[in-house]
Amino acid sequence: MKKLFALLAVVLCISMLASTAVLADNVVKIGVFEPASGDSGAGGKQEMLGMQYANYETPTVEIGGETYTVELVYADNGSSTDKAPSAAQQLVSSGVSVVLGSYGSGVSIAGSQYFADANIPAIGASCTNPQVTAGNDHYFRICFLDPFQGTVLANYAYKELGARTAYSLAELGNDYDQGLATYFKQAFEALGGTVIADSFPTGTSDFTSYLTNAQMYSAEVFFCPVSIAYSTQIVQQASSQGVTFPILGGDTLDSNVVANAAKGTDVNVTITTFYQEGANPDFDNGFKAWLNSNNEYLTNNGGNDMIAAVSVMGYDTYYTALEALKAAGTTDSAAVKAALPGVTLTGVSGSIAFDEIGDAIRTSAFVKKVDNASGDWNFVTEQTVD
């Protein structure tokens, strides 16, 4: 009993500490709904860096003639759909005007209903699954969608690489992988090619049998839109097996970690992504200087100052939110939601405008390829779908 009281006392102290939030006048709160732990923790942190940099660059916003300080409120959704609802609720109860995120479509969908119930709009930076925005009027996104990306990749494989047989490998149980693989297959077969689709169970670390399979079917391209951890292993094992086909991936592969894995090998890794470093030198230099100013930022970025496309998307979502706040003229979330469909701006990743579903109108994706000597990403082309 005594112990129980002691425990309760501790709990009470903690909750009291929690409630001593700091309040200043004229603050507008923007929720950051991103994973900082779990499988997508690395990607989530990179996306958050973009938002933090944007916040550092523009910490205030003019709403209805008054200057408001922007406060970013973080909620870690743990990359998991069973943690996402409480993270979403946390943001709702702290009174945010608009929510940014999340990295990973699954958690975005899981949190979505909680934002809808509170009439708070959300802007996705890199969640590409059509289901995030379909049927909701409160979820928006500034990136392209999986059907588009799958088609772009299929077009690139068929037309530019001249492949007629593709081997596609996705993680079992991962809706991102499976969705993109499905759209790739549809588009590639519509063009006249053949796709051999395969899946691997979560936690696989030996991909040699899949690579051998692909060689057996004499595949001319190896499509693997998998998570970063798997893709580095695939690249390394492809190199040791001496494969000849290029490895093709989606936006998840756009990471310095993957580029490093391909460095010094002769594996051709080609991906589609939202942004190519060098497209906007002002942003690149500013962001790099900011990253290098703090060791914590560098660690969150994966140890070096290479710019991840998701950081750029995070940066653009922040400015989209600011535009919406300005257009609404108030910090009331319902007004922001009403203002969002009309928001247009020119972001670092290109011009941003929303269609009637709430998706960004995007017609092209960047294709880039690893430079095997330096371990950098090289711009290949800007691929559009016709």
Binding site: V22, Y74, G106, A110, A118, Q131, E171, G179
Partner: protein, 367 residues
């Protein structure tokens, strides 16, 4: 034998009624977006699952780690049968709306979720319950993994939606009674899950305090002695396993309603460990402990500690270390302290009425 209603039991009943009344009143008056309700909903779900796991691990001495697997079955069965037909086209986007084109009422779907989980438990119980201790744990752990992989298999996609999410089924918010114009008249979204969990836990309690329950405890203490007294080991273990899985299935359905989405990916062994942790913190063999610790666990991990992820400035002084991710460090630390200093868990093997009894006998002692 007629049960005597003594003071501790009356007090317990009063406390339980008071808690339900407080929640009901709070729900009508506090904003529905308050974190409190989220925690109560998830806490109720976890409490049910933790008690069902305690029935096996704490009362019967069967060390099973298949809880996440049974929850997954429950969650899937529930959501597959409750997604409105008009939404099936959106949800089963890769499978042309799926093969199931009818819906069941929520409560029937929940019971079905439990029954299917129990059926699976019966089938795998036949071979698996012959094993003991570690081997049983490994076999049930393996079962949970196999179930997850089967549900993700794309050949079953028209039923399970493969690797993709199930969503748009009824959630806790649909329990709210609404006026004709869509505004909520009576908030029931927190009290109903708590009631469902309460009824289920009450049924488990009745089982524990019955002849069967005493037989289960005898099995836990000494299997040979229990068998010598005439307890049929296999059938009693099988029963405990099926009952536990039934309620894990119902718990899975509740988790689905709480999450508003279901994806096999999230039912990992980590989820089983989380529930095992709750059971151990609460006390192996204490229903009250499991309930208490699940609410504390959920509140601490999802609510009270979240401020650690934010930078805090108090009187111009920036508190060091506070940054995104720090919460998990503190949380692990707290769990370590609890496990080190509360070896028996919060409650040991005591129940709520025992607390009053102890206070009564040790009158004048520490309060």
């Amino acid at each position: 034998m007629k049960k005597k209603l003594d003071l501790p039991h009356i007090l317990t009943v009063i406390i339980i009624i008071a808690i339900y009344a407080a929640v009901f009143i709070a729900e009508q008056h506090m904003p529905p977006t308050s974190m409190l309700f989220t925690v109560l909903k998830k806490g109720a779900t976890y409490a049910l699952v933790a008690v069902s796991m305690n029935l096996l691990n704490g009362f019967t001495g069967i060390f099973s780690l298949g809880q996440a697997g049974f929850m997954l079955i429950g969650a899937y069965i529930f959501s597959i049968f409750t997604i409105p037909v008009e939404h099936r086209g959106i949800v089963y986007q890769y499978y042309d709306g799926g093969v199931i084109q009818f819906t069941l009422p929520v409560l029937i779907a929940m019971i079905l979720a439990g029954l299917v989980a129990a059926l699976f438990a019966f089938l795998i119980g036949l071979p698996v319950l012959r094993l003991k201790s570690d081997y049983l744990a490994i076999a049930t752990l393996g079962f949970a993994e196999i179930v997850r992989t089967i549900f993700q298999w794309d050949k079953l996609g028209p039923v399970t939606n493969g690797s993709n999410m199930l969503r748009l089924f009824p959630t806790f918010n649909d329990f709210n009674i609404k006026n004709a114009d869509g505004t909520v008249a009576v908030y029931l979204s927190t009290i109903i899950p708590m009631l469902i969990a309460g009824v289920c836990i009450a049924i488990i309690l009745l089982l524990i305090n019955s002849t069967y329950g005493r037989a289960l405890r005898a099995i836990k203490d000494d299997e040979i002695a229990a068998e010598a007294m005439g307890i049929h080991l296999a059938s009693h273990k099988q029963m405990a396993f099926c009952v536990s899985s039934f309620f894990a299935g119902v718990g899975g359905a509740m988790l689905a309603m709480y999450q508003t989405t279901v994806q096999a990916k999230s039912f990992t062994t980590a989820m089983t460990y989380e529930i095992l942790l709750i059971v151990v913190i609460g006390g192996l063999g204490s229903v009250t402990g499991s309930i208490l610790s699940s609410f504390l666990f959920v509140a601490a991990s999802e609510w009270w500690l979240r401020f650690l992820d934010q930078k805090q400035v108090i009187n111009g002084f920036e508190v060091p270390l506070l940054r995104n991710g720090f919460r998990l460090v503190v949380f692990s630390f707290i769990i370590m302290i609890v496990v080190l200093f509360f070896r028996q868990g919060i409650m040991g093997t005591k129940e709520l009425p025992d607390l009053f009894r102890k206070k009564k006998t040790a009158e004048g002692g520490a309060k």
